[in-house]
């Protein structure tokens, strides 16, 4: 039984295909999903998202959202989602440093919160970009 994975954002459909395994940063820890998983609705945290197909793992950077799991289908409603090979490492690094700088000269509690979220997202993107680099032949 195949597992259909769909990753959509408000702007576009990022990914849609049959996969073997999904690994997602859910609200209460990372979870792995195989076909015939029980129906579930969960919040996703900013983090690395993977799917595995034919023994190869493909990373995505996700900045939070929701995931709906049905026995034969997983739908990810992501705030933003980027494939590992779409991320420009240099730019991700730049964004991370910018976010870190903003965190240092924060003004209010709200700004600190925003900057922190920004930093977390930037860090995830960078991690995913590096992961991708470790597999030059794919």
């Amino acid at each position: 039984m195949p597992l259909r994975l769909e990753i959509v954002t408000a702007e576009r459909v990022v990914f849609s295909d049959d996969v073997d395994l999904v690994s997602a940063p859910a609200a209460e820890g990372r979870i792995g999903i195989l076909p015939r998983h029980e129906a579930m609705l969960t919040i996703l945290l900013p983090g690395e998202f993977h799917y595995t197909k034919d023994g190869v793992s493909y990373p995505f950077a996700i900045s939070g959202g929701f995931m709906e799991v049905l026995p034969d289908r997983v739908t990810v409603l992501a705030d933003t989602a980027e494939r590992g090979d779409e991320i420009d490492e240099a730019r991700a690094e730049e964004a991370r440093q910018r976010a870190a700088a903003r965190m240092r000269d924060r003004q209010s509690a709200r700004e600190l919160m925003l900057a922190e979220a920004e930093l977390r997202r930037a860090t995830v993107r960078l991690q995913v970009a590096r992961l991708r680099k470790g597999r030059p032949n794919r």
């Binding site: 408000a10 702007e11 209460e28 129906a39 609705l41 969960t42 929701f66 709906e68 049905l70 409603l77």
Partner: protein, 293 residues
């Protein structure tokens, strides 16, 4: 009657204007196609979100979840209106139709004794609010032709914040409405007024009857999902308005083009008449001169 030279000058100027409107028509046509694609691209996300919302709210009506964004305020005295207009003109009656609908809405609400705040997306709507002396809650301009979601978020955040109780339990807005251009088809765009907050929970029409496990809990999921739902509705309204803007401009420019062509035809006719009249005149003068000799 104008002299032949004057008419010739006029023809040239009309032709030049026609070239500009022709170019604008073509540009708008391609921008419109892209804008329509953008609207369609949000569908998968909104449709899924809608289903999940239906699922969550349907079950929570019997349950304990009373999310503030779903709750109507007991008394409505302050209302916010989000107006989605274009930044630029030359788009036919698009913006004036929106202004008329805005004015009607304001009058209606005033009649009910409610105070209005405008949240303007688009320069034209902002200018209208300022010109007619409305209180302007916030504004977003310069969105461009295919704005990312984050660019429209400030307006959604503003609306949600105003609708939610502040520290002392007071509300800035009791209801929030949105007015935008609905894209019916290339020829028709209609001003559309919708209630934005409190959120109208979708029924169980599309909801799959599945027993989900919620993580961390149903309330938490709903808590996170509702603002997204609101944001994405605003985003769709903005994208649809952009598609409307371009198709309205395309039609306006096509009309301008047709008018220019007709004008050139008329002017050419009167130019030829004037020219012929001058020639006839000259010949008869020469003939008269020759006869006099």
């Amino acid at each position: 009657m104008a002299s032949a030279r004057e008419i010739r000058r006029r023809i040239k100027s009309v032709r030049n204007t026609g070239k500009i409107t022709k170019a604008m028509e073509l540009v708008s046509a391609s921008k419109m196609r892209r804008a329509q694609r953008n609207v369609l691209a949000t569908r998968p996300y909104t449709d899924r979100l809608y289903d999940v919302m239906g699922e969550l709210t349907m079950r929570s009506t019997g349950g304990s979840s009373n999310h503030p964004l779903l709750q109507a305020h007991p008394e409505v005295t302050r209302v916010a209106l989000i107006t989605v207009t274009s930044d630029r003109g030359l788009s036919g009656a698009l913006n004036s139709n929106l202004f008329r609908a805005t004015a009607r809405f304001i009058e209606e609400q005033r009649g009910l004794g409610r105070a209005i705040t405008i949240i303007a997306i688009g320069k034209k709507g902002r200018d209208f609010a300022l010109r007619t002396g409305q209180s302007l809650g916030s504004e977003i301009t310069g969105l461009g032709d295919s704005p990312p979601l984050v660019d429209v978020l400030p307006a959604a955040t503003r609306a949600i914040k105003g609708f939610s109780a502040d520290e002392s339990g007071r509300y800035e807005f009791d209801e929030v409405y949105i007015l935008y251009s609905e894209f019916v088809n290339t020829l028709t765009q209609r001003p559309k007024l919708r209630r934005f907050l409190p959120v109208e929970a979708p029924g169980d029409a599309g909801a799959t009857k599945v027993d989900y496990t919620y993580e961390p809990s149903r309330e938490d999921v709903l808590e996170q999902l509702l603002p997204r739902f609101v944001e994405v509705q605003l985003y769709q309204a903005v994208l649809e308005s952009i598609a409307s803007e371009h198709s309205a401009r395309m039609i306006a420019m096509r009309n301008a083009n047709d008018n220019a062509k007709e004008l050139v035809r008329d002017l050419t006719l009167s130019y030829n008449k004037t020219r012929q009249a001058a020639i006839t005149n000259e010949i008869s003068e020469i003939a008269a001169g020759a006869a006099a000799l």
